[in-house]
């Protein structure tokens, strides 16, 4: 009985010693992993800093300007090309009639006949948001059938380019004058 007890205790002692040894090694391995991760974090943080600096260099205005002048035909936009609100855009004459036929907050942008038209929703802040009324997927349609905000005629679009010189563009006042004269003639 007593010897059994001694043997049991001895076994227990050996077992726990082995367990402790094992545990200690595991802890050391974990600690190594942690410090490796820490080093990794430092290295990664440093790599991020390098990449951020590189990104700042590559996207610096001087670099972009040089590249843009070399590879692009784009030039800075002039104020005439910037439209701040829809109220600035001229209506076509029938535009108002179409607008009155639509719900209050939507009017149809006049576009050439036989083309789908895209209603434009006027938000409070006057930012144009194009909302397509029916479910047709315009993105799949050929370019000529897609809704546009321009006044180009489809027939003109498809016609071969003419060689004639373009008529001289009249200034605003002269154009308005012409329009008024035409109305006078119609009357």
């Amino acid at each position: 009985m007593r010897q059994l007890l001694i043997a049991l205790i001895a076994l227990l002692a050996i077992g726990s010693a082995a367990g402790l040894y094992q545990l200690k090694h595991q802890v050391e391995a974990r600690r190594d992993a942690v410090s490796a991760l820490e080093r990794q974090i430092v290295d990664d943080a440093e790599a991020v800093r390098v990449l951020e600096a590189e990104w700042a260099y590559l996207s610096s205005p001087q670099v972009i300007q040089d590249q843009a002048f070399r590879y692009l035909k784009l030039r800075p936009a002039s104020p005439e090309q910037l439209v701040s609100s829809l109220a600035v855009l001229p209506y076509r004459l029938e535009g108002r009639r179409l607008a009155s036929a639509m719900p209050d907050d939507v009017f149809r942008v006049p576009s050439p006949r036989k083309k789908p038209t895209a209603p434009v929703r006027i938000e409070e802040h006057d930012q144009p948001v194009i909302a397509v009324s029916d479910a047709r997927d315009y993105s799949a349609a050929p370019r000529a059938q897609q809704p546009r905000l321009t006044r180009t005629d489809r027939a003109k679009d498809n016609a071969p380019p003419r060689q004639t010189s373009r008529p001289k563009q009249l200034d605003f006042g002269a154009r308005m004058q012409k329009a008024l004269e035409r109305i006078g003639d119609e009357r």
Binding site: V50, A56, S60, P61, Q62, L82, S85, R97, F172
Partner: protein
């Protein structure tokens, strides 16, 4: 097994008994100690483990840099610290110095081979070969596999934007101490260990900064000028979106820059800026009530005071109303106006708008204004059109911003203000006077000396300044300081653009004129053209909506003939 008992009697018995008692005492002591250890083990193993892990992860927060970054108002990196390696050698362990020197020079072409060879042959145990190698160079040196070469890890301050905003940022010495600009002013904040992870956010916008510097550089080239300076300020907050001085330098090699390039003309240089000061004179006259828009001044004759003669650069030689004095930039009219106000009030007014003390800008290079020691009448008269007082462009811009923004003076700053830090400025002129100043400045661009500053859509207003540079015994007639301060859009001022060109020469295109209206004003127009879309200022054409109104009118005439 048989158990035998031994009985002992007498004196032996008592001795035995005592020994047993002692054993029991020792056993109890040891048992208690072991029990204590067991409890402590359990305690450490079961309960303290959590606390231990916490302290471990706390030590794991690592810093990658020893100096905080500097970023622009949108978070674009302007200055950062990168790890770099410096190459050194232990000459004793170098096997073949000739071969090593030849190989190293191939990788590091800026080293002199003879000098390097001498270093490698020396008997010292440590010689620097090159500080701060690029990663590519480091890799190439490692690939050589030469014994005796080693790297020392160091940190390097890097300015990825190069020359952009160099005068704002300043630079550091090789050990990372700020020597100029923001780097110097905020040196303790940037190197503070507790704040190293928080970048310092400036009010500068790199895109605006680039547009400003680019256009000033073009103006300097076109007019063969000596130098130039400029700034863009948010008139509602005093934030500087850009501050440029040319010639500039690359802060990555700041220590080697010539003195002329290091000089910050926008904040450190003080100049007699000329007619731009008339804006202050007029605002002062309106504010003190000695003049109103219908006041008239006789500008038909130059004024002679002792040995000075005050002439007009654009002589009209007639009676001028107050707006005409401003629009035609009449020195005579401004001088008479200032005399009406009086020296004392003028001094008080200029002091109130910060002309008499250095600007409180967050860089070390801030110039002290030069003001007359005794404010006599002649000083009052010359100061009314910007001579006899020398201020920095930053001071002038701060004052002008207060003239147009509704009358509130905001000190110029290079640090971005958050929404909650928006304080109301110090009121220096009334809302009404400010409104008149806006209209007058718009008039200068529409009909006056600065027509070339107009940008259709942005309603630019401003004031030109053409000052002769002081020379020995008077002023040099041909050496000009041409400047223009433009504000846009004038119906609700948002930004002020100031450009100064030092000694421009007229060209054929300007009929050899080199004044502010011919050199600085068109430069400001080009800058506004570039920065307005970036800053989100929408162009408002004068005939905006006219097409639509016309279409309505036409349709109405159709419907109700």
């Amino acid at each position: 097994m048989t158990l035998t008992r031994v009985r002992v009697d007498g004196a032996r018995a008592t001795a035995m008994e005592r020994a047993r008692q002692r054993l029991v005492v020792i056993a109890v002591l040891f048992g208690g100690a072991f029990l204590l250890m067991g409890v402590r083990t359990l305690d450490l193993g079961l309960f303290r483990a959590v606390a231990e892990t916490h302290s471990l992860s706390a030590s794991a927060t690592v810093r990658a840099a020893s100096r905080a970054d500097i970023v622009d108002r949108n978070g674009v990196v302007l200055a950062t610290n990168l790890r770099t390696a410096s190459l050194y050698a232990d000459p004793k362990r170098i096997l073949d110095p000739e071969d090593a020197a030849a190989k190293l020079v191939r990788i590091l072409p800026d080293l002199a081979q003879a000098e390097l060879l001498e270093k490698l042959r020396s008997s010292r145990r440590f010689v620097w070969i090159k500080r701060k190698l690029s990663p590519r160079q480091m890799w190439a040196v490692n690939a050589l596999g030469l014994p005796g070469l080693a790297f020392q890890e160091e940190e390097e301050r890097v300015y990825p934007q190069g020359r952009l905003a160099a005068h704002v940022l300043g630079f550091t010495d090789p050990d990372g101490r700020g020597l100029a600009g923001v780097e110097h002013f905020f040196d303790s904040r940037l190197s503070d260990v507790t704040m190293v992870d928080e970048p310092l956010r400036l009010s500068v916008d790199v895109r605006v900064q680039h547009a400003l510097a680019d256009q000033i550089a073009q103006a300097i080239e076109r007019f063969s000028a000596k130098a130039g300076a400029g700034l863009v300020m948010d008139v509602r907050t005093g934030e500087l979106l850009a501050l440029a001085s040319l010639p500039d330098y690359d802060p990555n090699h700041g220590g080697g820059a010539p003195k002329d390039a290091l000089f910050n003309r926008a904040s450190q240089g003080v100049y007699e800026l000329g007619s731009t000061f008339k804006a202050f004179t007029i605002a002062m006259a309106l504010e003190t009530g000695v003049a109103d828009l219908s006041s008239r001044y006789d500008a038909s004759e130059p004024i002679r005071v002792s040995r000075f003669t005050i002439r007009d650069d654009h002589p009209q030689a007639r009676m001028l109303s107050l707006p005409e004095v401003f629009v035609h930039s009449s020195n005579i009219g401004a001088a008479k106006m200032a005399l009406d106000v009086g020296a004392q009030d003028q001094q008080a007014f200029l002091s109130r708008i910060g002309m008499l003390r250095p600007a409180a800008l967050e860089i070390s290079e801030v110039g002290h204004p030069l003001v007359p020691e005794r404010w006599r009448d002649i000083a009052t008269m010359t100061i009314s059109y910007g001579h006899g007082i020398a201020v920095s462009p930053v001071q002038l811009a701060t004052g002008l911003a207060a003239m147009v923004n509704g009358g509130d003076l905001f000190p110029a700053t290079l640090i971005r203000k958050n929404e909650d830090q928006m304080s109301s400025g110090k009121r220096v002129i009334s809302e009404n006077t400010s409104d008149i100043m806006r209209r007058l400045m718009r008039l200068v661009v529409r009909d006056g000396t600065a027509k070339s500053a107009d940008v259709p859509g942005y309603q630019v207003g401003g004031k030109t300044g053409t000052a002769e540079k002081p020379a020995a015994g008077g002023y040099a007639r041909k050496a000009l300081l041409s400047s223009f301060a433009g504000v846009f859009p004038m119906d609700d001022p948002r930004y002020l653009v100031f450009v100064l060109v030092d000694e421009p020469k007229g060209t054929k295109a300007t009929w050899n004129f080199a004044g502010g209206g011919w050199t600085a004003a068109p430069t400001v127009a080009k800058i506004i053209l570039r920065i307005a879309p970036i800053l989100g200022v929408e162009p408002q054409k004068e005939d905006d909506g006219l097409f639509q109104q016309a279409a309505y009118a036409i349709e109405d005439s159709r419907r109700h003939p």
